[in-house]
């Protein structure tokens, strides 16, 4: 049963950070080098060590043939570096990776697409770049074109394509790769929902029917949950948790609990105006909430401090999906408000589709924005209850559908 196709042992990747000093031109390097030499000669001080940064450290794991593994972690946790090492774009500093089979990596949609070339030409070019042979591309050409739904525009330069067509074509080529190991980075974050579904389906069937191994990095916990049976959680370049998908996702949500929701310290200018002091995403009973089931009610409470009274003061809230689609916006009716502490509450009244949402809160007065912060993440998951029609996140913005209240505290 255990047939590891990817073995990673004690993998480490170090980058050297040079602070402030960037030697982009030869002159900089020369002058810096000279100065260093002189300084060393004069003071005999040892050359100041470059700061080291380990993007990956002591990473070990094994992945079996046919597994679909999600790689999750916050920004800067080392996910992208791991993918770059596995796709051989950059060399590891320590450790060892053994890959048994042909690897194709998809770190970006449409790598190497040339805007001047036609769709047909780009299929060949992109296919070759992703590692397909000419024969292979020719064999799959029709399938790719049908999948991308661009038959009519095959001989149009892709610079005239709509962004949707462009992404569809690029993904179609990638989806028809036949590697034993497929590495995918967040590429599903583009394109419309229907096409994303199609791509997910294609990847799923590839792993199930053809025994392909897929490594999938995403911020969209919902997509990871849907696609992957196991997952790997990275934090600060180390493997924090690995195992069955549900278990790892739970751990991830817990790990994010500690810090979220996150309210930044107000800037000095804001201290004289108005700013958000605290924020909570919670159940109606007041328990902190980080992942909700589809249709489960929840609310956001925002504490504000006003240094002076405002006219036409508005508190607004926005939910954005991980792919950057604004799913819902709601704001309070404008009020004239006194200085002091206030609490605003937004209660969800519509059901959102399963996805991971970023909660954005903004303050404004007389249509002038005062503060806007990215407050936290909310992971909505689960099946749609029967007879229930949740809002699809791509369907557009739902305006002012929340129950709101604003009162002094």
């Amino acid at each position: 049963m255990a047939d590891p196709i990817i073995q990673v042992e004690n993998l480490g990747k170090r980058y050297q950070l040079t602070h402030e000093i960037r030697h982009d031109t030869l002159r900089d390097t020369l002058s810096h080098g000279m100065r260093g030499l002189i300084r060393r000669w004069r003071n005999r001080e040892p050359r100041s060590a470059l700061e080291e940064f380990w993007a990956l450290r002591e990473v070990s794991f094994e992945i079996n043939r046919g597994e679909v593994v999600g790689i999750i972690g916050r920004n800067g946790s080392g996910k992208s570096t791991l993918l770059k090492v596995l796709s051989r774009i950059t060399e590891p500093t320590t450790g060892r990776v053994t890959l048994k089979g042909r690897v194709a990596s998809l770190l970006e949609v449409g790598t190497g697409f040339h805007p001047e070339l036609s769709g047909r030409e780009n299929i060949y070019l992109n296919g070759a770049i992703l590692g397909m042979s000419r024969m292979e591309i020719r064999r799959k050409f029709d399938e790719i074109v049908t999948f991308a739904e661009v038959e009519r525009f095959l001989d149009t330069p892709v610079k005239r394509y709509s962004s949707g067509m462009y992404v569809r074509l690029a993904f179609a080529v990638a989806a028809h790769l036949d590697p034993e190991i497929l590495i995918v980075d967040e590429v599903l974050a583009v394109g419309d929902i229907a096409f994303q579904k199609k791509c997910l389906g294609k990847m799923e069937s590839a792993s199930r029917k053809e025994g392909r191994t897929v490594l999938f990095v995403s911020h969209n916990l919902h997509a990871v949950r849907q696609l992957c049976r196991s997952a790997l959680l990275l934090a600060d370049g180390r493997v924090l948790e690995a195992g069955p998908c549900g278990h790892v996702l739970e751990r991830y949500v817990q790990a994010t609990d500690a810090s979220a929701p996150h309210v930044p310290r107000p800037s000095p200018e804001l201290r004289d105006q108005a700013y958000i002091t605290a924020l909570a995403i919670e159940t109606l009973a007041g328990h902190p909430l980080h992942s909700a089931a589809v249709g489960q009610p929840w609310r956001v409470r925002v504490r504000l401090r006003l240094a002076r009274p405002y006219r036409n003061f508005v508190v607004g809230i926005g939910l954005v999906t991980t792919d950057g689609v604004a799913a819902q916006t709601a704001w309070m009716p404008p009020v004239d408000i006194a200085a002091g502490d206030h609490e605003a509450s937004f209660e969800q009244t519509v059901a959102l589709q399963a996805s991971t949402y970023t909660v954005i809160v903004g303050l404004s007065s007389d249509d002038q924005s005062i503060q806007q912060i990215e407050a936290g993440r909310l992971d909505i998951s689960g099946d749609q209850p029967h007879g229930y029609y949740p809002l699809t996140s791509g369907a557009g913005v739902v305006l002012n559908s929340m129950t709101t209240s604003l009162r002094p505290v």
Binding site: L26, R96, T98, E180
Partner: protein, 279 residues
Amino acid sequence: MASPAYPDSAVTVLEPGRSAAHYWRDLWRHRELLGFLAWRDIKVRYKQAVLGVAWAVIQPIITTVIFTVIFGHLARMPDGGIPYPLLVLAGLLPWQLFSTALANSSGSLVGNSNLISKIYFPRLIVPLAAISVSLMDFLIVLALFLGMSLWFGHVPTWHWLVMPGFLLLALALALGAGLWLTALTVKYRDFRFIVPFLIQIGVFISPIGFRTDYYPNWRPLMALNPMTGVIDGFRWCLLGGTQNLQPSSVILSASLSLTLVLSGLWFFRRTERSFADII
């Protein structure tokens, strides 16, 4: 399921310093990509130009006319019985090949940085593809030369058969210098300014507009420029041996180009593994 080029059993081991292990095998496997990248550059180059391929002909014709007027008519340099335009074009042919190959290859890595930071392939493919594009222009101008030479009543002789050797020499020179420059440009963008400068100087110090065999005193000095041997060689081949060949300058060019290619390969391979990190 797997394509023939990638057998199922292929096991890749990634370790620090290991990228050298299968480099040449990998390069061979990616030969189709080399073709596609060259094809892309050629296609894109002529796609938006209304005159298309004509540009490849117009440039050398105008340069030939100017050099013929300056060197042949104003300076009255000796032609040895060869129509002056033919003399110029025979020298311009290798020079243009060298300068476009050098310019293309030295800018190639930075020009393809999006590929390099997103996809693995032996990076050597990039400058190689860039150089092969310049061959396209060369072939067009070579056809122009053939037509002109027939029009002037010069029928190709067996000397033409030696030409590919000098062609390789010019390409090797461009590749060697190009490998150094493109790898250096990844880290230091300064080197972008060096190439046009080198080419500009090269136009003046290379015997493009005149033949060297009438200046025996200057020949040893001119031979220090590796392109002199190449240009002399091209004239010898294309003009039926009417210009005598100085073996020492050819040997010098050949040994210099070999040194450049080998050292260029060494430097390129040494710096290659960090391209994706710093580009």
